[in-house]
Subunit: 126 residues, 2 copies
Amino acid sequence: MADRKQSPNPCDRISSEGPMVREVLDRVGDKWSLLIIGTLQRGPRRFGELHQAVEGISQRMLTLNLRHLERDGLVTRSAYAEVPPRVEYELTRLGETLLEPVLALAAWVSENHSAIEANRKAFDAR
Amino acid sequence: MADRKQSPNPCDRISSEGPMVREVLDRVGDKWSLLIIGTLQRGPRRFGELHQAVEGISQRMLTLNLRHLERDGLVTRSAYAEVPPRVEYELTRLGETLLEPVLALAAWVSENHSAIEANRKAFDAR
DNA sequence: CTGAATCCTAGCAGATACTG
DNA sequence: CAGTATCTGCTAGGATTCAG
């Protein structure tokens, strides 16, 4: 008991800053944001390009997600007063830095997804 | 166009392995799993301890999440035939390795959450 | 104590149609 | 082209109750 009470290890971040971690995870962890960010990583993209690149996303969801990302300062939105209208979305510096830990997670998945699938199979076999 | 077609940069993982990344994110990104994992990081915990530690979680959700984590091989469940019954949950080796990239993400949040909040405030001010 | 089963609800995602 | 508006269905998740 006593040895568990106040260990000052880095993992406390998960619980102590839990709410904030969750907030960011709510953004990064939802169905589409990551795919959008991944697409934008290669440079600015127009709304239509994103709609095409992020397969299966509805217009509505794309709009909403972009708003959220914009609100958090992860993405910028630039509308050009032309005809036809053109709007470009681009990762901010902040958005780019986020990519790093996210890629670390993606790397972990790459290494371990087969193990996970095996575990699931074994588990379901019962 | 051409310069964007096949860049072999590491970020392709997000799109190319998108489904798998998403699968893991569905696990790690949901409302409770991370808090559970964070709690278990300090050692094995009983059901009741988890229920208490992970504030606000319902019995149902705790059970479901633990099942999922168990299925993925991130957590082990050990039931002891005693009275009253005792069940202990513990991170597996796989679960521990997951902690590393997750903590990287948590660290990013620590560094940037204030920036994000500022962005949100500025955005909402309109 | 641990957890399964049921019921119930809010909120979110998809489809569709419309607009500047 | 880049959205907005509306409607609807679904399901994640909370509360409660029962059981081994």
